[in-house]
Amino acid sequence: MSKHHIEMTINGRRHTSDVEARVSLSDFLRGDAGYTGVHVGCEHGVCGACTVIVDGKAVRSCLMLAVQADGAEVTTVEGLAAPDGTLHPVQQALLDEHALQCGFCTPGVVMTLAALTNGDAKPSEAQLLIALSGHICRCTGYQGIRRAAKKLASADHGGKT
């Protein structure tokens, strides 16, 4: 099967590779580029764990081929915290509200909230909560995640991705 040359920016760094067309973006990010913060759960778009930001929008990376992200700008959970280790406001809010336990679903939740609160966006609590319906968490019972979302809806949260 044909190989395709692709080039994309991941967390601000350029990556080039030759991939088979059937490789999903999630597998490419984990296996080829080494960003294992992208968690692969169901691989059919139900669980939301693999959510990353592609060209500013939160998408399921298991439902996109790596070859389709040619030329795109991709952000994974590894790209959020500042170089000195300061957490992104979304990460800090989840930490403060005890919104994670095993952490498997967390990177996806973080990326959805980060995409929606990026820049000048001022999403309402309702908007954030309905977007969180795209994530399945099997251990927190969601209440901590909901509290974090509530905090983010009202907080002033910088301009970082």
């Binding site: 059919h44 939160a58 081929l65 309905i130 319906s133």
Partner: protein, 289 residues
């Protein structure tokens, strides 16, 4: 849970895409937003020889109004429909319907044409196209066809497209300013497939129903137009409509089936209730307008 190997092309024009589909002789799948095809590939329920990715075809994107209709390019993403001020003004019920498709994250990739072509019986967009009398434009190397949405769906995931044809546009006829919109669905959780749903529009002239487009989703093997209910409503004065009787007539056009978490009887019962309630509330709004 990885796709079987396939070849991949990403044409830049409709003509190139049609040529690729013609050459594949039925062994190709078209990749639009991928929010259904990618799961099917990952689960190996679909194993095409070649994927024709239409994401790079600029002429398949966009929303334009003219000639008495709003034409939506099939590669218009669902999130773009939700963000469109023109659609919020001209076809608010379409925006309402699209807000219920999947999740925020899947609407960022999922497209209008992908959902229209798939023909999931419980999906919002095909039913909206059928209810509002949309026309689906399809192209192949052999030419262009315009298929009424009401004739497009043949069964679950079965449509009138030939293997070499590509959906190139969906045209929704204009509805008069201030028309009444109806939409309601029942699902187990936000983002789940609807168990029962209804969608439609009504226009009023001189206090009477002048035009009606009503449809069901999740109520049979295809989206269903509620023709008997439409006929009952036409010409009736707003204050003389027995909404529950209309809902019962609407149910007569459905053919729901049993599934593991919902019975056909449940669908008929709940369907009649939500149809009647949505109609009643919409008419109340219409009287005030």
């Amino acid at each position: 849970m990885k796709p079987a190997p396939f070849d991949y092309v990403a044409p830049a024009t409709i003509d190139e895409a049609c040529a690729a589909l013609a050459e594949a002789g039925g062994g190709a799948r078209v990749l639009a937003g991928g929010q259904t095809l990618m799961p099917l590939l990952n689960l190996r329920m679909s194993q095409p020889f070649i994927i024709v990715d239409i994401n790079k075809i600029a002429e398949l994107k966009g929303i334009a109004r003219g000639d008495g209709c709003t034409r939506i390019g099939p590669m218009t993403r669902q999130c773009e429909v939700i963000a469109s001020e023109a659609l919020a003004r001209d076809l608010p019920v379409l925006v309402q319907a699209v807000c219920h498709i999947g999740h925020h994250q899947t609407r960022n990739r999922g497209t209008v044409g992908g959902s229209i072509a798939l023909g999931e019986p419980a999906a919002e967009l095909p039913a909206t196209a059928v209810a509002l009398g949309a026309t689906i434009e399809v192209r192949s190397t052999r030419g262009t066809r315009h298929i009424p949405a009401g004739e497009f769906y043949l069964g679950p995931y079965m449509n009138a497209l030939d293997a070499d044809e590509l959906v190139t546009g969906v045209s929704f006829p204009d509805w008069p300013k201030g028309h009444i919109t109806l939409f309601r669905e029942v699902a187990q959780r936000p983002g789940d497939f609807a168990l029962v749903g209804m969608v439609g529009a009504l226009s009023v002239e001189g206090g009477r129903i002048a035009r009606a487009g009503l449809g069901w989703f999740g109520m049979g093997p295809t989206p269903i137009r509620a023709k008997a209910a439409e006929q009952t409503l036409l010409g009736l004065p707003l204050d003389r409509i027995d909404t529950q009787a209309v809902a019962e007539r609407a149910i007569a056009d459905t053919a729901p089936f049993d599934e593991h978490h919902v019975s056909a009887e449940y669908r008929r019962t709940v369907g009649a209730r939500i149809f009647g309630r949505t109609l009643r509330e919409a008419l109340k709004t219409g009287e005030l307008a």
